[in-house]
Symmetry: C2
Subunit: 189 residues, 2 copies
DNA sequence: TTTTTTACTTACTTACAAGTAAGTAACTTT
DNA sequence: AAAGTTACTTACTTGTAAGTAAGTAAAAAA
């Protein structure tokens, strides 16, 4: 049963996105899965091993999904990314970057590296999406695509954080304003 | 000696901005201040009491500083805010919002309320700064000032998070792009 | 000058976290 | 059929966290 291992990873990811990496404990996993904490250690000797596994799975899934979107026009691709954040917002989740980056200094090197990899992968993807979209006339923005990608990634990440604190309406306000800023207006009469 | 109490609050604030609220312990305070952990409990019966005190002090300080800037033109006022984040970035600090909002669901109601108050205060201040600045022709942006303030606050907050993970150059890239976006270009020949 | 208050320390308690060593039942391979 | 191997459990250790009860020395108030 590789099933248990996967369920541990999936639940750990949810816990990171709700409580944070340092705030969840093995009991938060062993109780709902009806296993003992030692079973988690069997698959993941240390909490860092578990964290790394969560990040590896996320990166695989990110790569898989963005590849699936590759045929879409760039504005639709970016919309897909926004939609994943919109779903997270509804589930009261924050994203892995929003959860793990504040704890970065408390993480062990192996996890820090994975967090950095994740950050780079997301920003790189957004940057090339924006760049191609701009050259096709779908997006409008000033400056380098990479710098713009940093700001977009920031806004998505923080929209989930602020929504938690200030209420869920904030997500809609932020994401719609952000998208309007980027899109070349094609609704002109 | 009210001095000890203030030193506890100041150190607690730093710890929140480096390790996070749940990740720091009373030992992180009692050791450097050369007191016993019971001395902290003397002033702050629970960790929540300490957290609330940190946030109250921050809010007072924020109100004080923004009041001091009130006579400046709005672009300079916003610049002051950016500068506080720039200093934080150099000290490898994140801001209180960036640290506490991911942990929001693990905080007790008394602290949640203070975090919400802080969020509102900052966004409100940025919003009215942007609004007045735009009407004076200092800023240019689309949409409501409040929505724009959410995005600006997001970008500042997340610039510190991303800088931690991706290196310190990121802060400069983000803040300069953000400021250029907002400023009406007055460097035209 | 006695009493009270302030600002702590000493010495605990309770709880829970991550992690481990040794065992076991069931399945797989030889 | 015997010998691993897999997927766990049982039962524990060690460390550390927040928090507390009782005491104390010095300063302030009566």
């Amino acid at each position: 049963m590789q099933d248990t291992k996967e369920r541990i990873i999936t639940l750990a990811e949810e816990l990171i996105k709700t409580k944070g990496f340092n705030a969840f404990s093995y009991k938060d996993i062993s109780d709902p899965l009806e296993i003992k904490n030692a079973a988690i250690h069997y698959y993941f000797p240390t909490k860092t091993d578990l964290g790394v596994a969560v990040l590896e799975q996320y990166l695989k899934s990110f790569t898989f999904h963005t590849a699936k979107w590759a045929e879409l026009p760039e504005d639709k691709q970016l919309k897909q990314l926004f939609d994943t954040f919109s779903r997270a917002s509804k589930d009261k989740f924050i994203c892995l970057m929003g959860s793990l980056s504040p704890d970065y200094d408390t993480l062990q090197p192996a996890m820090q590296e994975q967090v950095s990899n994740m950050a780079s992968a997301i920003v790189q993807w957004v940057a090339s999406c924006l760049e191609r979209g701009r050259s096709k006339g779908l997006f409008r923005f000033e400056g380098e695509a990479y710098d713009r990608a940093l700001l977009v990634q920031s806004n998505l990440l923080a929209s989930l954080l602020l929504s938690r604190v200030m209420g869920n309406k904030v997500f809609g306000k932020m994401s719609s304003r952000l998208m309007k800023d980027l899109l070349v207006d094609n609704t002109k009469k």
